[in-house]
């Protein structure tokens, strides 16, 4: 991986820029089962997350609707968009597992290939670890997710 001084723009790879320019799942949900918002008072970044559950009786409900709305830099916007893609269609427990995997990724814990496969495109955010002051930008939507999941349990 290119170092910061060799390639100052290493942070702005294709996946991050694509999700920043065309964020997914921004449309607001009509009647979400949970809505949470996180705010960083130091920089003004904001992440709002809506979750909707549904599914056949007798099995754990699935996240059938997700709306992620972030205000702020490219990193928080890309992270919110990738989060929404990632949790869509999962159960609450599966989404919580994904969130933990993402935190492990951002903390630099070695992850087995199966975990990386689970993260999918989210792995693109690993580069943020090289910019320590920006890690909180990447994590803010996930704080909102974890609070939303807690309310759904």
């Amino acid at each position: 991986m290119a170092s910061l001084s060799e390639n100052p723009e290493a942070l702005y790879g294709d996946v991050i820029m694509e999700h920043y320019r065309s964020p997914r799942h921004r449309a607001r949900l009509e009647r979400p089962d949970a809505e949470t918002e996180e705010f960083n008072p130091f920089c003004g970044d904001r992440a709002n997350l809506q979750l909707k559950l549904d599914g056949p009786a007798g099995s754990p409900p699935l996240i059938v609707g997700v709306s992620a709305f972030a205000e702020g830099c490219s990193i928080i916007q890309a992270s919110a968009s990738l989060l929404a893609d990632g949790v869509h269609g999962r159960t609450v427990d599966e989404a919580a597992d994904l969130s933990q995997l993402f935190r492990d990724l951002m903390q630099g814990k070695p992850l087995p290939p199966v975990a990386l496969a689970e993260l999918g495109e989210l792995e693109a955010l690993e580069v943020v670890r090289q910019y320590p002051v920006r890690i909180k930008c990447a994590l803010l939507p996930w704080v909102a997710l974890e609070e939303g999941l807690r309310r759904l349990r």
């Binding site: 001084s5 100052p8 723009e9 702005y12 130091f42 702020g72 830099c73 920006r134």
Partner: protein
Amino acid sequence: MTTATNMTGAPGHAAAIPSDGLAALDPHRIRQDFPILDQQVNGKPLVYLDNAATTQKPRAVIDAISNYYLNNNANVHRGVHTLSQRATDDYEVGREAVRRFINAPDVNEVIYVRGTTEGLNLVAHSYGRKYFKAGDEVIITGMEHHSNIVPWQILRQEIGIRLRVVPFNDDGELLMDEYESLLNDRTRLVSVVHQSNALGTVNPIAAMAELAHARGIPVLVDAAQSVPHMPVDVQALGADFLTFSGHKLYGPTGIGALWGRSDLLNDMPPYQSGGEMIRSVTFEETIYNTLPHKFEAGTPDIAGAIGLGAAIEYLESIGMERIAAYEQALLRYGTEKLGDIEGVRLIGTAEDKGGILSFHMESAHPHDIGTILDAEGIAVRTGHHCAQPVMARYGVPATVRASLAFYNTTDDIDALVTAIDRVIEVFG
């Protein structure tokens, strides 16, 4: 009259300043006094443009602090021993330096505080709690730092005072008619920033004070951003209180000063209590010490005060007129260069402003700009600059702020412009 040969004249002489501000001083010689500037960041020479957040320290300040701890460390105003006397002398030399620097009438009116925030809080909590009643009004401006908003909001909750806010125009200039109409019989204090940290606007303090004084209203000046960059004279401004921070004045963190008129300070109750601020204590009664000690409870930041004194002496050796002339010329250079870049919107374009280049780009968030600038070795501040009402006024969540000091050069501005071009390459 100005001639080129005057460059060798005594520092600080206004007449010695050439008409071309960039020639007012030699920044390359100045930079040798600031060891920290000579380093690489991310493989690039450091370009330090975050001076409104804090300034770098000249060797004279670092040496003064080292010398205190190496040779003279003792508590002040306590012992009869030699070290205590040396520490006390140096601590008081700093106070006299502050008095001289802001042209205060009396050295006992200079109170050491931790910084501007504490200076403002001291006035709010001591003066405000004693004199303000429900329905009384305090006037501030729309471009205050949070530290000149929140203390008054706390008094609003406690006492029921009203906070009145002077608006400003799109250039960032106060609407003086609005200010005048806000002054009324319930106004108890005008608390105003001298130079805005987010916009650079220099407010017309003398005119504002004149209007306030006509109604017998005192004026508190937040001079955190002005004292380091221009000559400030509390008597010429007509201030009643004025406060600033040492660390923005090329001195250490944790020290600053509040100056106030002695008749006001004498009638104010202590702000904190403990050692130093008392004359005598029995369990029945405590008699407070005289100024300035009444407001300096506990062992103070002795090294900080000595460092602040050293910073002031260093600035005096160059001359604030000279520094202001140079920084103004650098600001004009930067304003022109940044103004030429398509997609860059300067926030804060007042006629009278200091060395602040605050800007916004449609294509890139300030954080992203800050990251790319950092990769180029350039230090700027990104965010709301603790002035969220200002950001709201311009409809932006945050700005990038390049803030100048007299050790910055036109090369620094050019490096900033080149780095912004890289931002445009990445973000369009």
